[in-house]
Amino acid sequence: MRERDEELGSQEAARAGADSARVVVVDFAAPELAGDLSDEPMVMTFPHLLVRELVAFLALSLFLVLVSLFFDAPLDAIADPTRTPNPAKAPWYFLGLQELLHYYPPVVAGVLLPGLLIIALAVIPYFQVNVERPSLWESAPLRRLGLLWLAISALSTVFCFASALPVWSIVVPLWMVGVAMSTGALPWRGGRVALWLRTRSLPFWIFLWFLVSATTLTATGFFFRGPGWAFTIPWRDGIY
């Protein structure tokens, strides 16, 4: 903290021209020292940011080197097209999709849903729907509450009955998000948490639903699926 004050102090000195008097030849960078118009604390990139970046990089490298020293990457037998392992699992970041294959035909689980997800992610910032506060519940809360639960019921129906089995990993997070959202519509004022919940925007809730569903699907695929994609308990049957 003290060091920073000195830093800012010497910046003042530089501004006054005390430093640039010594160096006469190149002066093009001098306006960079003129300080910011706002009174927000600023620091020099060198050393403050660069040292932090270096420490972060070294910490990451150290972690990865230690992991690489103590654990070995898997190497199975040579590829054999005639012998299918059971289960044949994709890398972890695709296990959510592979889990969806359990419920939907490949065209839905492998093309339609991931395609829609990527498009939805890309277009999120282009929707000005309730991006900033005033929040979702500022006007006509009851009507909006009705619309919300209508939408949730419609989505639940799709995810329960348009698939081979109800996709609980998607439906349950949807309901949880719906309940958390609805607390904002209640006339009850509540404390800090209630205020925080009430001021979240609609994109926040949609993103939260995506995030929780994707995590649940991936974790299910990773920990709870065994031969024939049957449900297994990791601490009893191990992780496949």
Binding site: E40, M42, P47, L75, I78, D80, V107
Partner: protein
Amino acid sequence: MRALTNTRVFRSVFRHGFPSSNRNRSLVVFSSFFLHFHPVKVRLRAIRFTRTFYLGGLCVACFFILTVSGIFLMFYYRPAVPHAYHDMKDLVFVVSSGTFLRNLHRFTAHMMVALALLHMAWTFLRGAYRPPREFNWVIGVGLLVVTVLLSYTGYLLPWDQLAYWAVTVGTNLVAATPLVGQKIKLLLLGGHAINDNALLRFYVLHCVVLPMVLVLGIGLHVWRVRKDGGIHLPPEVRTLAPGATEAMATTSKEAAQ
């Protein structure tokens, strides 16, 4: 140290003196090709660890580690059908530190995908996707897809059972695309089954095409962050005491996100 920085040779390379003055500290950043994507001064709020957890920067760090370890791996690897797997075995049992090299590359790859996902989630939750940064968010989504594809194309290269069947699952999903699915699968694999051709295609995508796309994308992504005035920061709430002037306003607390 100071004397060294005053020599003619040092000055011919770095063009600035010992960074004891803020002028020279600015020149360290400003006159360096490698650092010029940074401004010379940054907001203190912007560089706090808990602001970003440095997730984007750590993705780039992972990419750097992957590039270096990947180049070493390329010295020991042939993308052909029986050789690929035998080269893996050689790497584990013959090459000095080969196991470590392979472990590092593989675990860093998983780390990069995880960090990119976390970076996206955190960027969203902090509201940094909002205008004027909406297109940079789209570029970020593209970078995430490229990162996953890089990891996925690398997954086939060891040519073990794990690799073969994971890629089988993936390419069968691609083939399920209406109308063009079979054609894309044929293009990707260079045949109807995963064999020599597929391995070579995945190798070229993994080592040449996708890294180039990623470097270009990262450049664009970071450049746009700079153009939008650095990382997204919520506006500050200033409390103005009654009778106080604007200059006396104290920065109290950031606006809740």
